[in-house]
Amino acid sequence: MGIKIDPGKCTACMACELACGYHRDDAFALLSACIIAYRARELKDYFGVVLKEEDTLVIARPEGLEVKRIGAVEEDQGEADASAKPMLLREPCDLCADREGGPLCQTVCPVDAIYQG
């Protein structure tokens, strides 16, 4: 079970991102959120949501959902890195384990684009 995103429903409102930031910081902030509304390609109206999980990135694009391994060594990019330390900037999704109502991002999504599955 993990967070899933329906890119067709998403309206890029960022409620999920702020909720996640709140879950991490107990304040309103965006920089530590592990779910991010991707909104850089504004002139093309190309937006979606990226979710950082323990080992994967879940990318909800208009085309559909893609799941990518994080840190996998691709081609000849690098050698094994056994001592790699996690960067604590954006910790992976913990499904808001300490929250009775489940993941807060799911709760605050006004258009029900976030679900678990």
Partner: protein, 440 residues
Amino acid sequence: MLPSPDPRPPARPRPASGSSPSPPTQAGPVVGSALAALPRRPRLGIYCGGGASHSWLWMVDSFERLGLDDLCFLDEKGVASGGLAGLDALAVSGGDAFALAGALGPEGAEAIESFVRSGGLYLGSCAGAYLCLRSSKAPLNLFNFVQARISNLARELPQPLMLAEKFSTPYGCAHVFHPVREAVWLAPAEEGPWSGGGRFAAPLYGGPAMLPDDPCLAMATYADFHPRTRFLAPRELAEATLLGRAAALRAPLGAGWLHLYGPHLEHPGFAEANRLMAEALTHDLPDGPPASPPASPPSWLAGEAVRGLARQLRREVSNSRIVAAGLEDHPVRWRIGAKVYEPAKFRVFLEAAWRRVPALERASALPLAPEESLALGEGWQEITAGLRGLRRALEDSPDPGRDTTGQANRLFDQIKRACVGLLTLHFAARGPRGGISRPH
């Protein structure tokens, strides 16, 4: 095997609260009382030179939160050229043990050995622990200060269940392998600074399980797996490799001590482990005054000059982290040496600097000469320019990962140095004159 009796008497009486059968879970008060029992505030050096990953910043955060805030920062040159004089302890966190040993070299090994033999405390976690364990592999064999062996070593590497790239590291004709990652439970040994305490959690990111030989003493063993433990090898293999082995040990060397930790007890997400690390540290700190107390800064900035510098730092660190945060959207990765770096790593250092800017803004004076202030400000300006230039280059490059490697490498180095400069200033301004108050 029961640990051998402690060959040395405790350096000073243990704080009363530390011997409580149910140690408090809050970090502050116990360490506060441990610190209060010390004759003076210890001066700690944190290694941030070659071979170190970013986890030395965890040391900074944890020490600062625990009130151990007389901190300075050393690279390999600092270690080799007398920078350990005046320190009570040297902390070496994670990274690449071979690269650490290579960067420090024979001069560094000699300096660390001499520092510990004359009463100093060495605190190593993960790679900082591997560094000082007995090894026949050059250049690690320059640092054979601790009579203990690595137990997570295999000639024939088992098949990883997941995260193959984080599972093992070549070690001569064998492999150091890591059957689990993330949180594990540790149990304090019957004797030593944590005796009588309950089990506690700390995260393991490739650190060693150790087999101590006399006169080393286990302070804690791997006791169990945690709900957040991630198994990279079958559970039975993980149990056989880790459970009951030393996760933390202390070893005498001359008049001083080495504390080696497999897991990262300094990880900011593990308050109890932080507290215990600091408690062990205060337990074995050298007695008496340091060999040579740190020199007083020759000049101090005050008034408008402080406000001007703090404002410039706010401006440039903000500019830099804005660009760095934007770079995190970019799929680029750089191979630098044996490691693969992602843009997020820029912000690890920038956030550490950013968190200290408000305190600098409140400072009444800063221990800095005007020309140093200028250089610090300009250094950060160059970082902003460098990051913006990197972003432009990434957008223009057909093969960003390769074309921008040199630029990224220089920037990682520049940012680390600038971050060290800002942190040095921050910690030097603690106390009545600088006016940066200590956290409660």
